[in-house]
Symmetry: C2
């Protein structure tokens, strides 16, 4: 028996556990001080009424022999594939429902999609980055290169013709930086991928936060992307499904590499190693796209957007560089006074009781930066933003 020793190469991340420990220590040291977490990556608002109604309806169906559903199609029910296709059509992207694969979340598919590719491919990921892109490749023994994101490129790395990559991860709006690629920038990535026979794995999990019509919400808004990109999306952020688990992956029919069709391969992978998303959950997800569902969901998104605006406004007032905050639930700020990420974390917590996430935890290029999130309670976010502003202003005195 030979084990997969690549598991030994994954670096243990203590980012969130260290953050949690320091927060707990603070609360123990200062039991009377109010701590506010602007480090939450999870949603906090409950599911929309239209979704709850659809879930109850589907549960009732499962309790009666006449309407009970057993095994469903592994790639998702047509009613949900079609609802997703209609949502895409709303921002100008035409998809065949057979290009849409309903999944239990973007995270699963971002990892599992690698099954389609040979081990011997070069992977390019931005730094800083959502850790799953790197870890899933390291676990499979692939070489990972990094595209440095920094203040100069606005945390939006662009293709470098001297780097030959086969599999490229892009995330826009980005986690953790909140930066959003323009159409022109994505067109350069599409051109690079087509020229180099590469495939772009485009993580669109935060597309619902884009309100600026000039910014793309899908890689497929870019001409030629259907021959070189796979897109991953999720109901987690648009509709608060982090604990309800539903996402989808778009694998265009038009991509072909080495005479093989990733669409057909993914269908084979899913029918062999997956059994579909619960019928109940798919009914809830489809309700997101109804008129009532969309109205409620926009209300929730506006709540988070207002939080982002409050945080960004506070940073504007104290002249701190940041990206994100608009078209994104994340604000990625430069630590003031030249502090490194963890020094700022400690200083901010001690000074204000506000908890954020050290940027260096997402990659070495994140050093000196800090992530704040808009998923918290509105009142508390206002208090936290005011405290952060005052603390930074006091530094400059």
């Amino acid at each position: 028996m030979k084990m997969n020793h690549h598991y030994e190469e994954i670096s243990q991340s203590y980012l969130f556990s260290t953050v949690a420990k320091k927060a707990a220590d603070f609360q123990k040291k200062y039991p009377d001080r109010e701590m506010i977490k602007l480090s939450i990556g999870d949603v906090t608002l409950p599911l929309a009424g239209a979704v709850i109604k659809a879930l109850h309806g589907a549960v009732d169906e499962m309790g009666k022999a006449e309407t009970f559903r057993g095994y469903g199609p592994e790639q998702g029910y047509a009613f949900l594939q079609e609802a997703i296709a209609k949502y895409y059509a709303g921002h100008g992207v035409q998809l065949d429902p057979n290009e849409i694969f309903v999944s239990d979340g973007a995270k699963s598919d971002l990892g599992n999609i690698l099954d389609l590719f040979d081990q011997d491919n070069v992977v390019l990921v931005p730094d800083p980055v959502y850790p799953v892109y790197v870890d899933t490749n390291v676990m499979a023994g692939r070489k990972v290169l990094y595209a440095p994101a920094n203040e100069e490129n606005g945390f939006l790395p662009m293709p470098d013709d001297s780097v030959k990559a086969d599999i490229i991860y892009l995330c826009s709006p980005n986690n953790p930086t909140g930066a959003v690629y323009t159409r022109e920038q994505l067109a350069q990535w599409v051109a690079y991928a087509r020229k180099n026979d590469a495939i772009l794995l485009f993580d669109a999990a935060y597309e619902c936060f884009v309100t600026d019509p000039a910014l793309p919400r899908s890689i497929f808004e870019i001409e030629g992307a259907k021959e070189c990109a796979i897109e991953f999306c999720s109901f987690s952020k648009i509709a608060g499904f982090t604990g309800t688990r539903c996402g989808y992956t778009v694998v265009p029919m038009a991509i072909e590499r080495e005479g093989m069709s990733p669409n057909k391969m993914w269908l084979r992978r899913q029918t062999t190693k997956f059994n579909g998303v619960p019928y109940i959950v798919q009914r809830g997800a489809a309700a997101v796209f109804t008129e009532d569902g969309m109205a409620e969901i926009q209300h929730n998104l506006d709540y988070y957007r207002a939080n982002a605006k409050v945080i960004a406004g506070a940073l504007d007032e104290c002249g701190v560089w940041y990206c994100g905050g608009k078209n994104s639930p994340y604000i990625w700020m430069k630590c003031p006074g030249g502090m490194d990420s963890w020094t700022f974390f400690d200083w901010l917590l001690e000074t204000t009781g506000v908890v954020g996430t050290p940027g260096v935890g997402f990659g070495s290029c994140g050093e000196g930066f800090f992530r704040l999130t808009a998923f918290g309670n509105a009142e508390k976010t206002k208090i936290a933003a005011e405290r952060v502003k005052n603390a930074i202003l006091s530094l400059n005195k």
Copy 2:
């Protein structure tokens, strides 16, 4: 870009599509004849009332801010891990809840578990077999050996010391044959695995059909199994969750290979490439193990068991060799008159209107055998069994 060309090595199975086409042709040819499907692998009874009640309760929780659940533990909520541990304790197996990983189904985990092992391992699967075991390994480029199951060994292949395998799939009660290993037989497999440093992947998806207390329901009833086996189980058959999606995988703390812990590796795999089962579904699954849930579920299982008994009784009356039918929802019969699997399929359909599944579709050792299932409607199953019996008796005249 190099694709995974092992996908080209997977043999396309036309088993179920051919069965469906032949059934449709029959119905077209004889619009007035009643066709009965004894080929259904899916459950047909609705979810139990206790499960429906728990699902509704959890949906309500998701609709209120105070009780809303976001990201949950990837390995499952403690309330469900503990309920599963208690269920195992009921048949004498003590598990630590941290050995239990809640999943979206046995099929997913049976494929995904292979992430833990090097490509260079020899895989042993029984023939005939559930196709997922073979396909997931072929997709990953592993060499697959077959352990022949046949009438002589009662479709329960035993270890062969001349065969050196690293990863061994066992399924008991078996799909498709319905055969169930005894404790003594499983003890031989455990001994083989320990001696050869192999790992047994034990598919216990049908354990709930075992009523004979002399037969094991878990590999962990066998001494020493915790050092060499991983068990996969599902709510699909015990509680009709085929469309609700929940299962679990037991990875004992005690297994170690090459200094690595599969339990720790699987935790890492799941936290990196999976985001847990919907909270709502986990609440439904936990209700299976309540007093009310168990009573209802036994009632449903008894319904299917009665169907199996009816089919087995009919075969007894016409002297046909079969295995399964007891402690299993599957009946695996020898085709009468020396017919091969497809000849018998065609003859049986034409003669009786009953649809079954040709054994050869599950592997070459299934040639000359035929699978009937107990998941259909009770009245129709009685009619079908009577027709099968009379047709076979008429053959012998």
